[in-house]
Symmetry: C2
DNA sequence: TGTACATCAGTGAACGCGCGTTCACTGATGTAC
DNA sequence: TGTACATCAGTGAACGCGCGTTCACTGATGTAC
């Protein structure tokens, strides 16, 4: 996340992170090695370990960056919970590598402070959206509404990523629109 | 799936499958090898490959068995879509290894006939539940209702498995109840 | 401005290890006569 | 019922390979004087 310019060969940290995201998007979260990433990034095979320690360290950086970008995307969607929901689905689809790592905590150190800070920020954006919509309801109803909203967008996104929604067309964000509307506009 | 009694050492195929499910539940879908499974099952290291060919073959068998058990669980829940939804969440929580493999098609051969047959059966149960509930509505509304129902239970289950719903208590099935109710009973 | 030194990102050869795969084999079961 | 043979699930030694890790190094940059 610190994104310092590196000394000898441009920004190696950035290059390795990008290679990781690329490899995960192509091959999933399992089928890659630090050496493969180094080859992809055009650096020595020892460089990734030098920067990140091990795979979990690298994936922790991916998760932290992912949650930060995710929070940015949700914030940019504005105050309407529908739009926040669509932004949630759009992020998952457009950044599937980040999304898959973020929601597979067995892969990384989920208690890393940078990760928890970025994740908390994303959750605060979602919670604010729900509060705006369920204002005046009883606290437990607001909580249920929040869980329902989170579940429906997350479920839609994950089902689409897993290929289960093949009959839904090639624009998952548009396909999500009536589904999200159904939850709150009746 | 065929579950034939094996010749020399009891049911080796079954033993390897059980070891795989156990290992995946403990360590995730990535951090295991065929040799490790063989050790866990107490068989020679060549046995898993003998039966399943490779990791993808083994995971294809896990996915097929998972979808079959999943369809059984949904069928057993009866005609009420709420109960089907709760059964969906319960299956994910109680059989997380199967569930995670099933919805990560990059891990296995998703076009395997046994897999597609079991998956189609599960989807038919879900579709029937939605039809019972959305009867008389326009086709596209029924489709939207089906997507919404599937998304909300899948999202809740996946969020819980990923540890994101830590504030929800230790009984995810009970916690899912009001969330599912919110979708259809207003 | 110039020189000498310290720092440290990144290198690359070397290592030991667990992996998947191969392959000749063993031995229990099923079948033919 | 007994014998001889075929089948094939499962074994275990051996292989070559890519992996993560170590470690002495290189060389560009930053700093002190």
């Amino acid at each position: 996340m610190t994104d310092q310019p590196s000394y000898h060969h441009g920004n190696l940290r950035r290059a390795v992170l990008d290679a990781a995201v690329e490899a995960i998007a192509e091959q999933g979260t399992a089928a890659w090695s630090l050496r493969q990433l180094a080859r992809r990034a055009g650096v020595s095979h020892a460089a990734p370990a030098h920067h990140f320690g091990d795979k979990a360290g690298l994936l922790t950086a991916v998760a932290a960056e992912g949650y930060a970008r995710f929070a940015d995307a949700l914030e940019a969607a504005g105050d309407d919970l529908h739009d926040t929901g669509l932004a949630y689905v759009r992020f998952a689809v457009e950044h599937r590598a980040y999304f898959e790592v973020m929601f597979t905590p067995a892969l990384y150190r989920a208690d890393d402070p940078e990760v928890t800070a970025a994740r908390d920020r994303a959750e605060r954006v979602l919670a604010a959206g729900v509060r705006g919509l369920a204002a005046g309801e009883r606290p437990e109803d607001e909580r249920t509404a929040g869980l329902a909203a989170w579940s429906i967008v997350h479920g839609f996104a994950h089902l689409w990523l897993s290929g289960a929604l093949s009959g839904v067309g090639d624009d998952p964000v548009e396909a999500a629109r009536p589904v999200i509307r159904l939850l709150f506009e009746r």
